[in-house]
Amino acid sequence: MSINRKKVFYALAAPLGAFVLAVAVAGLALLVSGKNPFVAFKQMVIYGGTVDSLITSINEALPLFVSGVAVAIGFRTNLFNIGVEGQYRLAAIVAAVVGAELPGPGFLRIIMAMAAAIIVGAMYASIAGLLRAYRNVNEVIATIMLNGVMTGLVAVLLKWDLIASIKDQQLRTSRLPKSAWFPSVTFGGSELYLWVFVAIAIGIGYHYLINRSRFGYELRASGINPGAALAAGVNPKRMIVKTMALSGAVAGLVGMPLLLQRQHEFTQQFQQGLGFAGIAVALVGRQKAAGMAAAALLFAYLTRASQALTSPPTRGTKEIGTILQGTMMLAAVVAYEVVRRRAEANAIHEAAHRAAVQFAEVPA
């Protein structure tokens, strides 16, 4: 009974502690800037609690989650794919062109666009994989550099009049026909992107592939101990290329909810930064499918809720959202560690207690 209660306490202590710490830091920041933190948090909670906010959070979490999965695949085999950023943008522009320009019924266009995104993402990431495996170029540099190269490639494509044109002062690809828009449902006036099912499928696929399949086993093994994996018959070079390709393939899908559900075209303005956000999602979610989903939702929710801070009386404190995200990220992991250490000490203490009791029962 008491042990059970303790277990519950330890399970809840970390997330709760993280939350309290993050809120405290943010509250302090608000206080310092002369705003009433309670008013601010109330604004956030009220605004963040609307149906619209919740649905928006889900929609916005989709690309974050997929990006997290892409990064996590790399992490699982000790590769740091910092290039999801470049991979998804390049994939998105190609997918936009494929979806808009190739003939065919709507659903086929959606499939072709996603397939194109997967292929482009995988190919672009493979460059880093190949360089790492066969030229010993560290993938961190390679992907940082490929992100830089991507900006040039996207610019070239955007300026190529076969695939993009200027409309309303913006460079943009042709619009996908309405039939090729991914369906959505409306709740209380807000649209929920049904692409959420694709994201769920990606999460499930990721979980089973990594944890249940032979390929996932080898992938994890080479991440945990490359030497042992090699001795177990895993070719580390090929594993690097495969992992990067897989990570890139998923990365390619990051832009799809935006393309298929929101923008329906690729413009010079297409959302940036999702690749970097994915690193945070993957890490906070501990590279577990459910964890990353929770992290993505949390990040999206905080972004959304902090928009409340643009209204009086706490106007101009919206950065609290970013501060909350960063602090929560750190606080979450710190709290996990603290709780883990506490639990460990507690276990030792209990063991000692048991030993003493046992000993007392045995007559000398």
Partner: protein
């Protein structure tokens, strides 16, 4: 999650690997110079080695260099620092704030202090709480952005030209002298030689004018960090403890070294250096912090660190390569044509090296690239400006791919470790 970098390639012995390090470096500089000079002479793109290019390369290199050296201190002590970008942002902010109140020297010190605060947070998270280094770094990048804007709204808005995203400017030249070398800085005899555009001699003149001509004092301070870090890390007691904390913390711990303190100091210093890198951006431009100013230079510092195999001279080489290509890209799009020629020569040398190393597959592919570049060069097709802009990235990647080396990060870098742990 922790990232380790594993070696895969195992190059066999050859004349190069058996040479002493200092000779390798000398030879490399000499080779690079010869190739550059040749490329300039043949292509007529005088900007490849002009005083102007060198001067601006220095300006664009230093922030990346300092971030990279900051990363070096941290990773040599075993803490991966992907928060360099955030610490650099804090540095720009601190430089903006302290510079406004206390002038250019204040900016320099303020940048260091603000960066150090970022380092301290990273140290607390990773060393004390054993948080995954990449998580902590990523969080710091987020936090730095958030705090910088948040604080700007309070402290900059309404002061002079300050706002949520900009600090009020200050005069960067006040009390910050420029050091000039007579005969180099002015249009003296060396300049005349440079403008003759003779092979080798003029190149030498241009480069030495750029290198020795004139320096802002804060730039000298920044450059002095390279030997300082090298000395600190390889010659001092603290340096040995720092390196051992990054190679095998349990060994250091078992000999009574306080790994925790060493790591704290290293990571805080790391933040300070990245912060100074940010301060240079403020000082070099217009004396004001401005959001987005760092533009991923912290990540580039990380790349330079890896490029440079976790060594100061290597970081210098990596940062300089990037700074040089970035300068060319910005100031001399046409000189990029000269770079084709450089690529031709580079690939040619590379292919000869690989043929001699009995690796004809790589040799052949390099020869093919060489031929393709040559055709491209001779055909005179102008490069699309958008692609020119990718030169620093492509160039760095190419150099790495051709001259890939055996990289060896500090063995314990990124690994979780707690005091008393034996592994």
């Amino acid at each position: 999650m922790s990232t380790t970098y594993v070696d895969l390639a195992d190059p066999k012995a050859n004349w190069w690997t058996t040479m002493s390090r200092s000779r390798q470096i000398m030879l490399m500089f000499f080779g690079a110079f010869l190739v550059l000079s040749l490329a300039r002479a043949v292509s007529g793109e005088n900007d490849l080695t002009s005083e102007f290019t060198v001067t601006n390369t220095i300006a664009l290199t230093l922030p990346i260099l300092l971030a990279g050296l900051g990363g070096l201190l941290s990773e040599r002590a075993g803490i991966v620092n992907i928060g360099l970008e955030g610490m650099m942002i804090l540095g720009t902010w601190g430089a903006g704030f302290f510079g406004y109140h206390y002038g250019p020297w204040g900016a320099l010190i303020g940048g260091a202090l603000a960066g150090a605060v970022g380092g301290l947070v990273h140290a607390v998270a990773t060393v004390t709480f054993g948080v995954d280094h990449v998580i902590s770094g990523t969080a710091i990048n987020l936090l730095a952005f958030g705090w910088a804007r948040f604080l700007s709204a309070s402290l900059f808005k309404g002061r002079g030209s300050g706002s949520e995203t900009n600090s009020p400017g200050f005069d960067t030249s006040k009390g910050m002298p420029t050091w000039r070398m007579p005969g180099f800085a002015d249009d003296g005899w060396l300049a005349r030689i440079e403008f003759k555009h003779w092979p080798i001699v003029s190149d030498l003149a241009g480069i030495s004018r750029g290198l020795l001509g004139s320096w802002k004092v804060y730039e000298l301070v920044a450059v002095a960090v390279v030997p300082l870090v090298a000395w600190l890390v390889w010659k001092t007691k603290f340096g040995l403890r720092l390196r051992s904390s990054g190679e095998k913390p349990s060994a250091a711990d078992s000999l009574g070294v306080n790994v925790v303190v060493v790591r704290y100091l290293a990571v805080i210093a790391s933040g300070a250096l990245a912060g100074v890198g940010g301060a240079l951006l403020v000082l070099r431009n217009n004396g004001a912090y401005s959001e987005g100013q760092t533009n991923s230079r912290g990540y580039l510092g990380l790349a330079a660190l890896i490029f440079g195999n976790w060594k100061p001279t290597g970081v210098l080489a990596g940062a300089t390569l990037f700074g040089f290509l970035d300068t060319l890209q910005l100031t001399a799009s046409t000189a990029v044509r000269g770079l084709y020629l450089l690529g031709v020569v580079g690939c040619l040398i590379g292919s000869i090296v690989f043929f001699r190393r009995k690796n004809p597959r790589v040799g052949r592919s390099l020869a093919a690239i060489c031929a393709a570049l040559l055709v491209f060069y001779v055909s005179g097709i102008d490069m699309n400006d958008d692609l020119v802009k990718t030169l620093p990235y492509l160039g760095t990647l190419l150099v790495l791919a051709v001259f890939s080396r055996r990289l060896r990060p500090p063995a314990a870098s990124g690994q979780p470790w707690r005091k008393g742990q034996i592994t």
